[in-house]
Amino acid sequence: MAPFVERVVRSQVWRSIFRHGFPESNRTRAETVFYNFFLHVHPTKVRKRSLRFTYTWGLGGLSFGLFIVLVLTGGLLMLYYRPSVPQAYADMKDLQFVVSSGEFLRNMHRWAAHAMVAVVFLHMLRVFYRGSYRPPKEFNWVIGVVLLLVTILLSYTGYLLPWDQLSFWGISVGTNIVRAIPFGLGDKISFLLLGGHIVGEYALIRFYVLHCFILPVAGVVLMGIHFWRVRKDGGV
């Protein structure tokens, strides 16, 4: 080890962050996992078979990776986007043609969103065909189904935000489908979703808050439980 590196590794700062040695022995290898926030949920033992790439196709990890991409690009897009009429459409056009790298970020957000819906769906197919929903993992399948719903709702709420014709009619049709719920509930739910009878400014703000706050927070909490349970059940 170079003397400089050795000085860094022995410094108080390093030792207060990494409170164990390098993963060279069984003990320090275990400590590396136990004392790391990101690794601590890993199981103590993983079957070699479940580490094979073709067992999972990495689809869960890909979904999560896409979610990270969407949070980062979405957070940056929020800096230029105002969820009001008629600014929303103009801000979207500004992002495309005026803001530096705006078009790149918008496209990245869009493609990652499409990909996430596809990958989450493929992940569900993989879990189904591998029978990974079987006991004791039934409840994690249920959480996964809710996560699929959250993904689709995120995709759908984001659809309104550009405030163009496609968005407007997409949400008009969608909330009219909600109106088909019987016992007079449909009209009520549609009214609450839109904040009115038509797709207007209140609807835009509601979909914005759902898209940027409520659904992502719900997703993160469910993902935390989902990953923790995967690991406790011996998955990667």
Partner: protein, 163 residues
């Protein structure tokens, strides 16, 4: 006093002090949760809507020739003048999923571009997935032969405006 005490062995059907306090605790949590739920739903339903008014002036009587169907896109409504000269107003919003329909003059029908619903000029469904006919709106003759339509008041398709 012949009233049994709470911890008396005679009072089998008398709940214990602990159970009583637990019930008060759980009850207050339930009441608070229910109140919060009701207030939340009330908060989520706006009391004032900044939506465009439902009454609008469609135009002058002479703007509409006899035997014509005119779509007023901004108001999502048709003004129909029959051959005989009377008027009626009708929604242009497809009863299937809410798209704006269009008048096809060459075929003499109203068609929806979204899922292919078709209506005749009275708004009756002739094809496609639309579940209901297009509703007719109340229309009155205002000042200086202005046609005034109230989209908030739906009338039967036998209601016409003779001018």
């Amino acid at each position: 006093m012949d009233e049994p005490e709470g911890n008396d062995q005679k009072g089998k059907n008398i709940i214990s002090r602990r159970c009583f306090l637990e019930l008060i605790g759980i009850g207050s949590v339930v009441v608070t949760a229910a109140g919060t739920a009701i207030l939340s739903v009330e908060y989520l339903s706006p009391n004032v809507l900044h939506e465009p008014p439902l009454k609008f002036k469609a135009g002058l009587v002479e703007d509409f020739p006899a035997d014509s169907v005119t779509l007023i896109v901004d108001q999502k409504a048709y003004i129909v003048r029959a051959k005989e000269g009377y008027f009626y107003a009708m929604s242009a919003v497809c009863t299937h999923l809410g798209c704006i329909t269009g008048w096809k003059a060459d075929e003499g029908i109203i068609a929806c571009p979204c899922h292919g619903s078709r209506y005749d000029r009275e708004g009756n469904v002739i094809a496609g997935p639309a579940p209901r006919p297009l509703p007719h709106f109340q229309m009155v003759l205002g000042d200086r032969s202005q046609l005034v339509v109230d989209k908030g008041s739906v009338v039967g398709d036998d209601v016409i405006l003779k001018v």
